[in-house]
Structures are given as C-alpha cells and as structure tokens.
C-alpha cells in the first residue's frame, strides 16, 4: 500500500508537467489546427537559455523568468517567420515545417552546447518527504505541481474572463467572422503561439531537473507522453489536456512502478491506441457543434 501511495504522488507530480505541456499543444491546436511537433525542441532551447542565465546569475528564478520570456519570443517568432508562410498550403505543410524545426533546433543546440548532459539543478530538495511513514512528494514535486496548476488556472482565467481571451477564442473558432468584428486574427495567432511556447518553456524548466540533465533530446519522451495526454483528453479541450496529463502521469507511474521502467514506452503506445480506438475525439471531446 505504501508503494501505491508513493507511485500515486509521483504520478501526479509528473502528470502536472504532462498536463502543462499537453495544454501548450492544445493551445496551438485550437488556434491554428496544427500539432506543434517542435514543441519539445522549442522547450529544450528555452531551458538552455534558462540554465545559461541560472549559471550566469546564480539565481534559479531569474533563469526561470528568462526561459519563459524566451519561450514567448520563440513562439511568436516561429509563427511570424515560419508558420504564417507555411499555413496557406494546408496543415500538413505546417507539420512538416515543425518537424524540420525539430532537426534545426536540436542540431544548433548540439553545435553550441555539445552532446553531453549538462547539469540542471533543481531549486528545491528532490528527496521525498516521509509523512506518517509513507514516502510522498518531495519539495520539488510540490513546486512542480503548484507551478503547473497555477499556469493552468491563469490560462483558464485569461481565456474565459478577459477581452483578449475572448478575442483569442473567437479568432480560433471563426477567424473570418472575428475579422469582420474588428479582431486582428493574425495577432491573436501570434499571441497563441507565444503563450503556448511560454507554457512549454515552463514545463521544460520543471521537467529537466527530474531527468538526466539538459540535453537537446531531453524533452523527446516528454513530448510523446504529453501528446498522448492531449489526445487522451481531446486535442480541442484544455480541461481534457489537464485531466489527460494527470491521468497519463498516474498510469505511467503505476506501470513503471509495478511492471518496470522498460514497459513505460509501450504503455504510452497502448494507451494512445486504446483511446483512439474507443473514443477517437478524446475523453473530453465536445459534441460537434452544428453549423447550419
């Protein structure tokens, strides 16, 4: 039983990061109808920026801020410079541009920083606290959980309670009508990419210290898992991304804990397959709105 609780807490902490990363994917999917396959590579690039600032200033928090700001900038840049011009040829073009971007970013990072794992220290203790004889979350896990859930809440407020959020939703659902109502749809698209990349940057900063360290491929598996989480929840649903992320975190934690880490990648694929077979739209897919 002790082991079960440990795996549950561990799964939730990992799941919170998957949730944030899946949410970033959903943001772009809703705004632009494209799965941003470059999101993992973009997050790694911003994590390198973040940890460069950490080692220069000695402050994790300045590094975190730098990573998030560079995420905003990188997201906007990718949309303005690449996706805007790939878009008119159809969504497949954008996917291929995103895949190309992965290769470019990883190659450039390798050229600049080399191919070894660089240390990425965590700002808090990563040893699990023992509560009533049960090994539960570490202080770092708590920070990860808190940060990821805060971002999710902030995005929810932004989208449902603010004029800019209303503009972004309208621009995503009905770009032409939105333009006729005075919304700069292009600007909303840029903002959507910037926000998504910033959330991705945060997720990257949160997840890198839990792994082997900073490396150009450090987010590859995280991306696949977060993509699975987004599909499990439904690519259209922000709530689905969060629930999907936590769910996938838990499932993978149990699988890793009880069946061994070798089965983890297989479990991801089985889960993806099961969801696509049973409920292709994802758990939280909305009933298709009728367009009369």
């Amino acid at each position: 039983m002790e082991r079960f609780w440990f795996l549950t807490f561990d799964g939730l902490a990992a799941g919170a990061v998957y949730a944030a990363f899946a949410l970033a994917l959903v943001l772009i999917w809703r705004a632009a109808r494209v799965v941003n396959f470059a999101q993992g590579a973009m997050a790694v690039a911003t994590a390198y920026v973040g940890y460069a600032v950490v080692s220069a200033t000695g402050s994790y928090w300045l590094g975190l801020a730098a990573a998030i700001l560079s995420g905003l900038a990188l997201g906007a840049l990718v949309e303005r410079v690449l996706m805007r011009f790939a878009g008119p040829g159809g969504p497949l073009n954008q996917v291929i541009v995103a895949l190309g971007l992965v290769l470019v970013i990883q190659a450039v990072l390798g050229m600049i920083f080399g191919n070894e794992y660089r240390p990425a220290p965590a700002p808090f203790d990563t040893d699990a606290l023992t509560i009533a004889g049960v090994a539960a979350l570490s202080p770092y896990d708590l920070w990860v959980l808190g940060a990821a859930l805060t971002v999710v809440a902030l995005l929810a407020v932004l989208f449902t309670r603010t004029p800019i959020g209303l503009r972004m939703r309208a621009a995503a659902f009905a770009p032409e009508v939105s333009r006729l109502l005075g919304v700069s749809v292009g600007r909303m698209l840029t903002l959507g990419w910037a926000l998504a990349a910033a959330v991705g940057a945060l997720a990257g900063m949160l997840v890198v210290p839990t792994g082997l360290g900073l490396h150009s491929h450090a987010m590859d598996l995280v991306f696949v898992i977060a993509f699975t989480a987004a599909v499990v929840g439904g690519l259209d649903s922000p709530v689905g991304a969060v629930v999907g992320g936590l769910l996938v975190g838990l499932i993978l934690s149990y699988v890793t804990g009880y069946l061994g880490p070798d089965t983890t990648p297989l479990a991801v694929l089985v889960l993806l397959l099961a969801v696509l077979l049973v409920r292709p739209g994802g758990l939280f897919s909305a009933a298709r709105a009728r367009h009369v």
């Binding site: 503009r167 009905a174 333009r179 109502l181 005075g182 709105a289 009369v292």
Partner: protein, 238 residues
C-alpha cells in the same frame, strides 16, 4: 441624397476564376438596397469583395467618400461598415453574451458600447432570455437575430446582410424584414441586403439590383421591380 457606398467597375473572383465583372451601383444613405439574383449570380462574392474578405481584381469601392482599397478587414467595423456573412456568422462555440461582447470589444466608448448592448437585448428579448446559451443551442431565427444584434453594437452606418432569410420560417423572415425597415426609419441605417427570397427583400427595399452571372443586369426602384411584370419574369422568375 449622399451615397454611402459607390461601387465602380468592380471585378473580383477566386484565384484565376472571375466571378464579378464590371459591377457598378450606388447605395444612397438611409435606404435599403436589395441585391437579387439566382444562385451563383455573384451576390455573396459581391459582399465579400465590398468588405475586403476578397481582394478586387479591378475597380473601386468608395465608402462614405473614402476609397476602401488597402483598408484592412478588421478596421472596417471601426468605420461603421458591418458585414453579417452568410450562414449567420454566429460563433457557435461562444455564448450569446460572449458573441455580443465580441461585437463591441474594439469600441473605445465603453459606456456607449454598454448602452448598445442593452438596446440589443431590448430589441431581441429572446436573446436576453438566452444570454448564457451557446450559439449552437439557438434556433435559426435566434442566430440571425444574434448576428444582426451583434452588428448593431458597432453602431454601423452601413450594414451588409447576406441571406438573412436562409432556412428561416416565413414568419421569422417577415420579422427580420420588419426590423430592417425599423432600423432604416428610426436610425437612418443604410442596408445592402443580399437575398434569394425576392418577395421578402422587395417588401422592405427602396431599390433593387438584379445580378446575373456576375454582372448587374438591372438597377431600379423596388416598386418598379415589384410591379413591372416583364422585369420580374425576365430576371426574378415569378
């Protein structure tokens, strides 16, 4: 009478396929102008070109004396030109209240935007009752009211309306036509109304423009189009 809209030698189309050829007409201020014609005559293309969703391949559109070339679509509403597109243009994923709020987000005069919102709810009590319903839960008539109401929040001078009667019961269509008449008479709103439903359109219009195969074949006062059997038979098919 001053013209709100002057269209000269306008051509446009999709890619290399021309749809509008050499279209010219004027819309006097404070009138309802009906654009009539069969399916595929280019009526919707005309509206889309006027509001800049389609780029003209030739000719000129002057709105309130100003050439609209190079004016971005999202800036037109700020100048008082509102376009309610075909298929009602309601964002079905958003609620009634959100749709209406969206229509006034660009406005600097927040107090007047709020007043305009209250007026829309007064004009369409059905919308007030259903303000928290999503767009896709509304009936066709309610959606059309929402789309028109949302356009009114901009306090437009010129309203481009594309097939408001599409898929609506005759009674609801009559209500919408009566509303257009009221808006014209009480607020001096200028309307360019695209309709397949010729009888309804002519019941409210001051002048009619008949299009066929991308050209204007006739422009005449609505009363003449209603009463001249030859014109009606030739162009309107009844």
């Amino acid at each position: 009478m001053t013209a709100v809209l002057e269209v000269e030698a306008l051509s446009s189309g999709y890619g290399p396929v021309p749809v509008l050829r050499d279209v010219a007409f004027t819309v006097p201020a404070g009138t309802v102008t009906a654009v009539l014609g069969a399916n595929g005559a280019g009526k919707t293309t005309l509206l889309r070109t006027l509001s800049g969703l389609l780029r003209p391949t030739g000719g000129r559109v002057r709105y309130a004396g100003e050439d609209l070339r190079g004016v971005r679509v999202e800036h037109l509403v700020r100048r008082g030109l509102a376009h309610v597109p075909e298929g009602r243009g309601v964002v079905t994923e958003l609620t009634v209240a959100e749709n209406l709020r969206l229509g006034g987000l660009w406005r600097r005069d927040r107090a007047d935007a709020r007043r305009a919102l209250d007026e829309v709810y007064e004009l369409f009590p059905a919308l007030a009752r259903r303000r928290d319903h999503a767009g896709h839960q509304l009936s066709g008539g309610e959606r059309q009211m929402l789309a028109i109401g949302r356009a009114l929040i901009a306090r437009p001078r010129l309203l481009l309306l594309d097939e408001p009667s599409l898929g609506l019961a005759p009674k609801v269509t009559a209500q919408i036509m009566a509303l257009l008449r009221r808006l014209r008479d009480e607020r001096g709103l200028t309307v360019l109304l695209v309709e397949q439903n010729v009888r309804s359109a002519l019941s409210v219009a001051d002048q009619g423009i008949v299009m066929s195969l991308g050209r204007v074949v006739t422009a005449a006062p609505a009363a003449r189009l209603r009463d001249d059997d030859q014109l009606r038979h030739a162009y309107l098919g009844f």
